[in-house]
Symmetry: C2
Subunit: 391 residues, 2 copies
């Protein structure tokens, strides 16, 4: 459980930004934004005034909201009663922040009608920025997620054999994680983005990219679910990448490890060594003050140095222009370590670094770890050995 004191600190981070941007308050609408600020997923909206206490507006489920929430709650009546409810709680507003990156247009237009004299503003960036820097409580959750995914990796060697169906291996890995308390699907904030456990890929299909802006994709089970594990059989001499996150109390650790039955073609083995080198180059720079764009440039330089820039993070027009990203309650959190990203690293941010190399016809190799940025350096949260496991 998140303490009330922590919820107050989170709220104060947002309030600072609201006052900075001249918003009288913000109506949070997205489920992870609301969970972050209230401690429960049972709210319909969470109102944060620029000064004062948070208020959770609950449609359902009030009983669970009362058990879990660390903020004041009120039963949400009809939608049109919102202005009165806020007024009754002493909130006067001339401007209101909304998460326009996720709020459906129909609700936005409805809010414009019921708040005719209120200036509606966009607080999405603020809502995402406050979640970048993690608390000691949150850092503990990542450790739980790291233990979970490490327990999975210790079992993979006994699950993998020549002829194993990719989907069967995926099913077994997912069952192991679930039994350890994984919630199932991981969350993404981006519109139309979705992620199941992650990408478990093998052989040539590991080089398939997808609709997702990611270095990997995979065939998936059908054109209706076109990413991740598919129907192929895993063969000796093929790369098998297990990019499955652990999730503990909602917090995601992102991690990828490489396996193969027997050795891999020389080009892939060299590329995996290059991925380790890219990771080293990047991690040496993961300190407060550097930008996401600078991190990405360093990664590209390291890939160039290995002569593998054309294979880095995908190929041709599907190359992903990032080498890492923040993780937390969602896979696509800030900061983004991408081409030109202005995000500046700060102490206690948590980022996943995922150097990967794609070889059409052969597959993908690489690794991924999640890192805690401290004042002095980056500490690895992932506890599984980085090495390519040859079975």
């Amino acid at each position: 459980m998140v303490t009330k004191e922590e919820l107050i600190r989170r709220k104060e981070k947002l309030q600072l930004k609201l006052r900075e941007h001249g918003m009288d308050g913000a109506l949070l609408v997205q489920h992870m934004s609301m969970f972050y600020l209230s401690g429960t997923m049972q709210c319909q909206y969470v109102y944060i005034p620029a000064e004062g206490d948070a208020l959770g507006l609950v449609r359902r489920n009030m009983a669970r909201a009362r058990e879990e929430a660390g903020i004041a709650l009120v039963q949400m009546g009809g939608f049109s009663g919102l202005p009165d409810t806020l007024a009754e709680h002493g909130f006067r507003l001339e401007s209101l922040g909304l998460e326009l990156d996720v709020l459906p247009a129909a609700i936005y237009l409805r809010l414009s009608q019921i708040f005719p004299n209120v200036k509606l503003m966009d607080c999405s960036i603020a809502a995402r920025e406050i979640r970048q820097v993690k608390s000691p409580y949150e850092l503990e959750q990542f450790k739980g997620a790291a233990r979970q995914v490490d327990a999975l990796h210790r079992q993979i060697p006994v699950l993998l054999y020549d002829g194993k169906k990719e989907l069967a291996l995926a099913a077994e890995c997912e069952a192991i994680l679930r039994t350890l308390g994984h919630q199932g699907s991981a969350r993404m904030r981006g519109f139309n983005q979705e992620m199941y456990f992650g990408h478990l890929l093998s052989g040539r299909e590991g080089a398939y990219s997808s609709f997702l802006d990611s270095p990997t994709g995979g065939a998936g089970v059908s054109s209706a679910a076109p990413q991740g594990a598919g129907h192929r059989s895993i063969r000796t001499g093929e790369p098998v990448t297990v990019d499955y996150g652990g999730i503990y109390n909602g917090y995601i650790i992102d991690q990828t490890r490489l396996y193969s039955l027997g050795s891999l073609p020389e080009s892939l083995t060299r590329a995996f060594e290059a991925a380790l080198a890219v990771q080293d180059s990047v991690v040496a720079l993961l300190k407060p003050g550097i930008t996401g764009g600078e991190i990405f440039s360093a990664a590209v330089s390291a890939a160039n140095k290995a002569g593998l820039s054309e294979h880095f993070m995908g190929v041709a027009d599907t190359q992903a222009k990032y080498v890492g990203h923040g993780v937390g309650l969602e896979f696509d959190e800030f900061p983004i370590l991408a081409k030109g990203s202005p995000h500046i690293l700060e102490e206690n941010m948590v980022v996943a670094i995922e150097p990967k190399f794609t070889f059409p016809g052969l597959g993908v190799v690489g690794l991924e770890n999640t890192w805690h940025i401290t004042a002095a350096k980056a500490e690895k949260i992932s506890i599984t050995d980085d090495r390519h496991v040859i079975l």
Copy 2:
């Protein structure tokens, strides 16, 4: 694969509605809307003119879009190039339909700027309505999903024993479905709604409701994932409901079955019989011409007749006011068989009917089947026997 002919029929259904509502075209944005109309999930937008051919605008991944799509495709440049791209393809528009129920407000506001002289209208209802009536191809997919979930149910008896962790049983069931080709998470269209495989619930926690507007909820693994299976152990004499859908080529069949180790308390056994009676009453009415509201009323009457109205579809303020819903590519499709629903049943709609009774402290009992509405009657797509399985 969906044939081009079927994609044309789907498009024509939407075009009829666009002309009815005076829209020159619609820009579909939601991934399942786009998949339905293009055959691929690789489009960024799908444009459907009121008359003429569909056009898929692809950001990534063009290679896969070309393999899968049954409509014309064009590479999507920057967002602001959209009007020019449409003009180049001969589309002139004064009004444009958008799915305002899902389109993020930020994208809506951006579209308002880049289409300053175009009247932006809401086509969400039309986009959902065209998917209600299923094609022969789609009806075949539901059969695949029914076989998948039936294979799961044939294995549950050997997985269940006194002391079994609910989450471990869930993990095993999920692995069985995945190995059979299930895509993992099921999709929901509603904002902030989410569904993993479904609800596998046991004992008193089966009576927990959640944020989801559903007759069941469950504890879930944490307050960050507060629905579905949790950490409790299943005991003799407790109801175990397995409400896991099958998903085949994207199409969901919704199905619930009741299990127990040994017999259940008399009140629950009676309630399960009542659920069968409610199902019978409802199914007798599932014919073209009846409204969703009439179906719901009939279900409530049948529950009243059994003296169980206070337990029907949840209790107190968390009672769900529906008895069924359309299924297809998403769990929350039209028609909705809810209190006052004006949706009129038509031939070849597919609906899930889920009479359930909740007993706080004891759990939930009931069943769910998915039905194909033909001209004369409702045909059961689910193939698993309805009975309460006592082990």
